[in-house]
Symmetry: C2
Subunit: 251 residues, 2 copies
DNA sequence: CGCTGCTTTGATTCGTATCAATAGCAGTGG
DNA sequence: CCACTGCTATTGATACGAATCAAAGCAGCG
């Protein structure tokens, strides 16, 4: 059913993947110091590099399919991906957003519990899951990093459960904007205090993150603009004018 | 603000804690083979035992408070606890249910991101967080177990996000009953095929798990009984009559 | 037996989804 | 440069599901 992106032999030259080479330059990797690889010394890094492969993924393409046996895990070098759980009738819930230096996939378990799809053009450093599992088992520091990351993700997911289960539409949107403002300002070269940022995705995806419809999401944003809480210079840009009021609204 | 249950010096004899002794019998522990401790050999176990302390927690008492510096982690020996995230105005969302052999707390981080409260009388094996962190860092196998457990929890949480964000009340209740049926049948001495089980908590707590109100929850259960999907022999007992229909309904 | 707290049931309101149409923007080709 | 096309977002009217408000049942317990 799926043209597996991670299967070299199945890659047509026109596919989402532009190149597919062994990783030889972990030492100069853009996320070298932020990704889990940061736990490794030069020798270990070289070893892991042999297992990894760089790969580009075009916006909209899916790296991992929910329910499929997923023989890969990956680090994100660039771009933004979403983790999606879908129901049979097409309803979707985004259960995670993956930024550069974040880790994707399910080590130590074969079925991927969700799909991972690129929301922007992206670049990932991909590993065969079995090799990665073995490597991780032999490198406690790596495993430790992974554990910390997973614990953080779990905390984040649980807070999101509160939002999904108990917050109103306006609270959801406000909470979302504040969190995105934080997570996105870490990236890029934003001059610190600016409260403007560009979302890497559209309204429908915001709706899928918040458990709302696109219409409700749009209405809430329009209302916030009317109330002067924010500006919407373009479709994907957000400028928060009144952060205090926004925090108030987030509940 | 909180009479910390894990602070020996603050324990009045009438408190939730009945006794408070060093653990000396890990080898005969009821959850010995299921908890993360299963990764340890006899020597290591003895060492960890020195760090641990058994403690009883009465139903309704809180072991960890959201936002507090939480100097402890624990294994659950007996009983059921809930993990709760609360809003300023009192709304609550249960973000996790903790059964015997499960692990509670946030290693490698000080603020507890949620409260942990006993739903039934419970018994836990408690550790000072710092000591536990150190012990874990020195024992890769333990850390590995913990990682696997955390990954499982994350998967579970993410699936729950789908339920909270996208499912209707009837789908929520059906999904909940099916999951509880599974998780509870592992425990106790249920004769396998029986589809009846006793929930360790009341209607309000079901509502807090599903992101519903108690009234809606009650109405859904009543309707399912009327439709013959299940029986409700007593307040906390559930007998699923038509599992297929229930799975259908869970969406 | 009569509390007390939990659960069920009923009437009504309110928020969000749904359905439907319009508006705005980005890319394409005349 | 501007009309055309397709897609995404906004806006409006309405319907529906779940929350809320209110009251009555029902168990367990002194």
């Amino acid at each position: 059913m799926t043209e597996a992106l991670w299967e070299p032999s199945s890659l047509p030259s026109s596919a989402a993947v532009d190149y597919d080479g062994r990783v030889t330059d972990c030492a100069t990797c853009v996320v070298r110091n932020r990704a889990i690889c940061a736990s490794l010394d030069a020798d270990e890094l070289a070893l892991l590099g042999k297992l990894g492969r760089r790969q580009r993924v075009k916006a909209g393409h899916t790296l991992l399919w929910e329910g499929d046996d997923a023989p890969v895990v990956a680090n994100v070098l660039d771009g933004v991906l979403k983790l999606v759980v879908a129901a049979a009738d097409g309803r979707e819930q985004i259960v995670g957003i993956v930024f550069p230096s974040d880790f994707i996939g399910r080590p130590f378990g074969k079925e991927s519990p969700y799909s991972a799809t690129a929301m922007t053009d992206a670049e990932v450093c991909i590993f065969n899951r079995k090799s990665f599992d073995e490597f991780a088992s032999a490198h406690p520091d790596l495993q430790h990093k992974l554990l910390r990351r997973t614990l953080d993700e779990l905390d984040r997911a649980r807070h999101w459960m509160m939002l999904l289960g108990r917050k109103s539409a306006s609270e959801k949107v406000a909470s979302f904007l504040l969190e995105m403002s934080e997570r996105l300002s870490g990236q890029g070269c934003n001059a610190g205090t600016r409260s403007g940022f560009e979302l890497p995705f559209g309204r429908q995806q915001i709706a899928d993150i918040l458990g709302l419809t696109i219409e409700t999401t749009s209405r809430q944003l329009t209302k916030m603009r009317a109330d002067g809480l924010l500006d919407l210079p373009s479709r994907r840009e957000i400028v928060i004018n009144d952060r205090a009021a926004m925090e108030d609204m987030a509940g």
